[in-house]
């Protein structure tokens, strides 16, 4: 098993969020809010098999979701944001996602 880091970044404002990996809910959070001085709301970390997995981010409070397929051996960091219209998007990173 290897870690997969899902960072909920920009645009969250008291949102409910469900993170699924391979269709299984691994995290359900409410009141998710971006700390604007970081551009980060919260981090979800899960151990997964070293193989491609599908990660789904559902945001019921915006009635929207996004799905991304990643290989955690290549890009163990996923940054998910909501744009001004509340639409989610994700970026993948090989290196740690940093905030300051």
């Amino acid at each position: 098993m290897i870690p997969l880091h899902i960072h909920l970044e920009e645009g969250f404002a008291n949102d409910a969020v469900v993170v699924r990996i391979g269709g299984i809910s691994v995290a359900e959070r409410t009141g998710v809010t971006t700390r604007t001085q970081l551009g980060l709301a919260t981090i979800v970390e899960e151990s997964v098999e070293p193989a491609r997995v599908t990660v789904t981010l559902e945001v019921p409070t915006r009635r929207t979701a996004v799905e991304v397929t990643v290989d955690p051996r290549e890009t163990p960091y996923i940054g998910c944001s909501l744009d001004a219209a509340g639409q989610p998007s994700c970026r993948l990173s090989r290196e740690i996602l940093g905030y300051a």
């Binding site: 960072h7 604007t36 980060l40 290196e95 740690i96 300051a100």
Partner: protein, 760 residues
């Protein structure tokens, strides 16, 4: 100290500053260097000027040039300094200050025309009495060797205290700082000229003290030598930068607190990781100058790790409570301790990012947002995101090309937009512990037309801008041609909100930017506004995509910016008040009323599918029939049944179909009860624009059903209400024409969504 002159064209004094020799300038100003050297160096005009004594009035030279005097002249008075001033004609000018006014007057000028990163901007603050304050900002152009002039594009506070619109500044340079001054002339705006002489105070606009406390066993990085890493701009001066020097160049006279030192590890708790609460406690304990009040001071903690983990390189942790932005922290055991893969000088790269992080976090304490967040939150005037900015407030690893590309062009500075904020924004927005984090975080050089031909007004159609509890707030936006020439405007300029930024701010709370539920895309069209003509549009402001902005009882400020290619138009602030609930029923209903669904039903004039919201509105009508919210509820409930309403349905097999429902005559009558039988009340709460919109629509639907006489009655009732409320003649005439047409059995199309035009 290594020193290379990189730009021979630069004035020597400026070069001195940019190469880190501000201390020499300070020495010159304090008289520690001989006059000959002063001549060689040249003097900078930029800096802070003020009335010499905090409670002393500025020296007034003359309020109006003799050439602008009125026939017969204005009466003269003598001031204590022997200088004459003219008293303005009371019929045309703002009230002239009395001697008592002067005794309570204080004035500052921040001149920004040379030195490090000059913006060619001046700003000032005028304090009169103990409560009146106006803050202004102007863009400048050089009109002489030591004279600059420009238009005032921003005023904050009591704008009436400074009616003038232009400023001209002449600096009187002198080797002896105490002999320096600036003559400032305010003109325009239909007011007499106002001329003041202010004494030179310092080279920087503001002062701030930083205290660096380092957790035992951790290293604080507060300086960086630009020579140590090869990836840098070719023209970057080689110098030893400190955090204080960076901020001095940004206009802040930064000093280090003598209380800086080492704090024991015990404060970090058993796991040695820091939570925000632990840091806040540490700030109160370890910061030698901690005070729970606004002050120009910031505390920086250099620690090992935040409880979030290595993803957090630093944080401005002080973002709750009423006194925020006082403390920040930098974490050594985080991603900033890892050099980029393959970096040619890994150790220097780590030192560089740690230095960047420290300056960045302190930047947050000054209320600076990240470069890509400039448009978020509540910039008082709209800002553009700048995700590629080479600024201390941008993440180096987020730009295209990553940190390598960032540092190849990074000049160890803030952007001009950020410098404008640090140097010239009203102090309360910048000072630590004052405005809350992200409240007015940005501050843009608004592109305000020098002599605007149009004005925008936000208003409400009622004697006092007060709203009942639960009553939706509808404001009207009015765009008026104030020039003497016809103006061509986009027909949809006020309609789609694409060109508008609307800010609401509850007293004591952060401002919010209004975001409507829907965005509309309109075909471009042009419209001519003759001189004096205006167009109006209503704006349902209570609720939008980001929730209910105007719901809780209290006082609110609303301000609107309209963006045009030729310049931005900013409305005067509109102050509103929402009254408290009058009884238990209102408080109880509020729990169901202030929901997203009810907001959508009200915004979209009804729904046939949002059943719970409709039930709530029926409760409102049943329990609060005499309250104004009932008018809005009745319209939202009746509208979808007053025309053939299309509904999309999906059956069990997934087949989609669209069906429409028949018009319910009952719904037309319910609307008529609101708009015909209670037209005055409707006009009061819906506003004139929306009352006309709904009544025209209802009349058209009645006529479509063959009820022309009923349609005429609706228009007749609205006509009576509008006449009684003294609505503009053009609107009244239009309503009268519709009534007459219906009385003759003719049909008239409602101008659904069209702007109402008025003259006067």
């Amino acid at each position: 100290m290594p020193h290379e002159r990189t730009n021979p064209a630069r004035p020597f004094a400026e070069d001195l500053v940019s190469n880190g020799l501000e201390e020499m300038i300070v020495a010159i100003e304090s008289g520690r260097l001989p006059g000959q050297l002063v001549q060689r160096v040249g003097l900078l005009a930029s800096g802070l000027y003020a009335s010499t004594d905090p409670l002393a009035p500025p020296s007034l030279v003359a309020e109006t040039p003799l050439s602008e005097g009125v026939a017969g002249g204005w009466p003269r008075v003598r001031l204590g300094d022997g200088l004459a001033r003219r008293v303005a004609d009371p019929a045309t000018a703002a009230p002239a200050p009395s001697p008592i006014d002067f005794a309570l007057m204080r004035e500052e000028l921040r001149l920004d025309v040379d030195g490090a990163f000059p913006l060619m901007v001046a700003s000032g603050t005028l304090y009169r009495h103990l409560t009146t304050r106006v803050h202004w900002i102007a863009n400048l152009r050089a009109v002489g060797p030591v004279t600059w002039a420009g238009t005032i594009w921003y005023k904050d506070g009591n704008a009436a205290a400074l009616p003038q619109t232009n400023v001209s500044i002449t600096a009187h340079l002198n080797a002896f700082p105490t002999q320096r001054s600036a003559t400032v002339t305010f003109s325009g705006g239909g007011a007499p000229n106002r001329v003041v002489v202010l004494k030179y105070v310092s080279t920087t606009s503001r002062s701030c003290e930083f205290e660096y406390d380092t957790v035992q066993g951790t290293n604080a990085v507060t300086s960086f030598n630009t020579a140590t890493h090869p990836n840098r701009p070719a023209a970057l001066p080689i110098e030893n930068l400190t955090i204080e020097r960076i901020y001095r160049r940004a206009g802040i006279q930064a000093t280090v607190s003598p209380g800086s030192g080492t704090i024991p590890i015990a404060g970090a708790g058993v796991d040695l990781k820091w939570s925000d609460a632990e840091m806040h406690d540490a700030m109160q304990t370890a910061w030698s100058h901690f005070a729970n009040k606004p002050q120009w001071a910031a505390w920086a903690l250099f620690a090992a790790e935040h409880e979030t983990g290595p993803s957090l390189g630093g944080i401005m942790f002080d973002s709750s409570g009423t006194t925020q932005r006082q403390g920040c922290a930098i974490f050594e055991n985080s991603f900033i301790n890892t050099p980029p893969p393959g970096d040619p000088n890994a150790a220097a790269a780590v030192e560089r990012i740690k230095f960047w992080t420290a300056v960045h976090e302190i930047g947050h304490t000054f209320n600076l947002a990240h470069s890509w967040q400039k448009s978020l939150g509540v910039p008082w005037i709209p800002l553009l995101n700048d995700p590629e900015a080479r600024s201390f407030m941008n993440y180096p690893y987020r730009v295209a090309g990553g940190a390598t590309a960032f540092f190849a062009n990074f000049e160890y500075r803030f952007t001009d937009q950020e410098l404008l904020f640090l140097r010239h924004a009203p102090a309360r927005l910048v000072e630590q512990g004052n405005a809350t984090w992200f409240d007015h975080h940005g501050f843009e050089q608004a592109h305000v037309a020098a002599e605007p031909s149009l004005t925008i007004t936000a208003r409400v159609n009622r004697a006092r801008p007060e709203f009942e509890f639960l009553e939706p707030v509808v404001i009207e936006l009015k765009l008026k041609n104030i020039s003497t020439e016809p103006q061509i405007v986009d027909r949809n300029l006020l309609r789609g909100l694409e060109n508008l930024t609307v800010i609401t701010k509850k007293q004591g709370s952060p401002a919010q930017q209004f975001a409507p539920f829907a965005h509309y895309c309109y075909l471009n069209g042009r419209q001519v506004l003759t001189p004096g003509e205006s167009v109006c549009q209503s704006l349902f402001l209570s609720v939008g995509n980001s929730g209910w902005h105007l719901a809780e009882p209290g006082r609110y400020l609303v301000q609107v910016a309209l963006h045009r290619d030729s310049g931005d138009l900013i409305s005067e602030p509109l102050m509103l008040r929402i009254a408290p609930p009058t009884g238990y029923s209102e408080e109880y209903l509020a729990q169901d009323f202030f929901t997203d669904e009810v907001g959508r039903v009200l915004s979209f004039d009804g729904s046939r599918t949002l059943g719970e919201a409709n039930d709530t509105l029926r409760d409102v009508v049943g329990q609060l029939p005499s309250r104004r919210v009932a008018t809005h509820a009745k319209i939202a409930l009746a509208c979808p049944e007053s025309y053939r309403f299309k509904s999309l349905s999906i059956d069990s097999s997934g087949k989609k179909s669209i069906a429409d429902t028949a018009v319910q005559p009952r719904a037309l009558e319910e609307l008529a009860v609101v708009l015909r039988d209670n037209a005055l009340e409707a006009a009061e709460t819906l506003g004139h624009v929306d009352t006309k919109y709904y009544s025209d629509l209802l009349a058209q639907r009645l006529a479509d059903a063959g009820q022309h006489a009923e349609a005429a009655k609706v228009e007749s009732a609205v006509l009576g209400a509008f006449e009684k409320r003294k609505v503009r003649a053009a609107i009244v005439s239009d309503v009268r024409g519709r009534r007459d047409a219906y009385q003759k059995g003719k049909s008239v199309r409602a101008n659904a969504g069209e702007l109402e035009s008025e003259v006067g």
